[in-house]
Assembly symmetry: C2
Homo-oligomer: 202 residues x 2
Amino acid sequence: MAEDGTHGRPGRWRSGAESKQRILRTARELFDEHGYGATTVRAIATAAGVDPAMVFYFFGTKQDLFAAVAGMSGTVPPAIDSIFAGGLDTIGERIVRTLVENLDKSDRTPLVMLTRSAPTNPQSEALLREFIDREITDRIAAMLGTPDAALRAAMVNVQILGLTVARYIMRIEPIASSSVDELVDRFGPLVQHCLTGRTGQS
Amino acid sequence: MAEDGTHGRPGRWRSGAESKQRILRTARELFDEHGYGATTVRAIATAAGVDPAMVFYFFGTKQDLFAAVAGMSGTVPPAIDSIFAGGLDTIGERIVRTLVENLDKSDRTPLVMLTRSAPTNPQSEALLREFIDREITDRIAAMLGTPDAALRAAMVNVQILGLTVARYIMRIEPIASSSVDELVDRFGPLVQHCLTGRTGQS
DNA sequence: CCCTTTCTTCACCACCCGATGAAGAACACG
DNA sequence: CGTGTTCTTCATCGGGTGGTGAAGAAAGGG
């Protein structure tokens, strides 16, 4: 029932859901590459080897398709949970390691895609802000409990955003080609300092 | 001859260059807000109170207009020079202060605009990368002279990108509404640590 | 077997896109 | 005043856009 994994049963039934998922995958790629406004439904359909009308058949409208593409979460939370499982003194490392390891697995991950399209698409911006608030800011703030927890959490957000943009979007060297361990070595203490270091207020 | 500064003589001559600059200003705003692909020449013309054909009269094509909008630099360098004027032990503060002060003056600054449109526009990405390499990475690396200078400079880039995205693009709280001094207090030491702190390699 | 449901295609709509070319106003200069 | 240059508008072109509706293939169920 509902959706299965990648391509389902060995004996394909009529088809249908396969086309739907192919459209979804292609749409994700193109929206990610060119943004919402510059991506055409026909380009998605062509790239997916499908008639343009099918896009409107499965997903009613272009915005609905975008929402279907961008509106999937729930895949990251298990990894995020492990961040907050350990102690507070090594959480910086865990944040960086979890972030980079998960994003390295696929550069089409929702976080990268949203970060990419947020600047030019209000819907993406809202989703990304919501995700950041819910999964990062709130949980960090709750874990710290200090008065400046919100500010410290925001500093971590800056690290996450900067790292994401530099490594996965702009691919700035040598950040883009560094190993996971290298990045953890470099940015782990930095993030740790954001959370538990003494404030800049001297 | 050629172009003058902002609006030239007190008694406006026929007009002309004024329309040209009005188009430029409007185009910068719209390209910044919606990106290249999602911005139409007609929308620019309408917002500028000008016939669409005038856009093509002054700038031959849409891409040329974008190039004219995005291809301006030289305004920031004097401020950047002051960063590298002082000593190495307080350069972190100066980087953050200069960045935030300059970007606070106008959120339509080239750096913010390029950062905004880089994810969806190859031309913007190239310009932004070139700017970062030339004005930040190279100068920091030259100033440090250590073997890991490139990596340290890249870490500063991560800070700059993260700060820019968080404060000026996504407007994440409380980063967006913090004062300049607050941000300098918080991120100055962080940037300083990137450059002169001990490496994470223990 | 027919008939229904699901998927796919095709033809088509109104609209907007970037871009062109020529005609019309506003001015400068002689 | 007349002429030429500069700026502005208008009408238009070919093409692509998001979106719709009906007709045509598979597949399933009775």
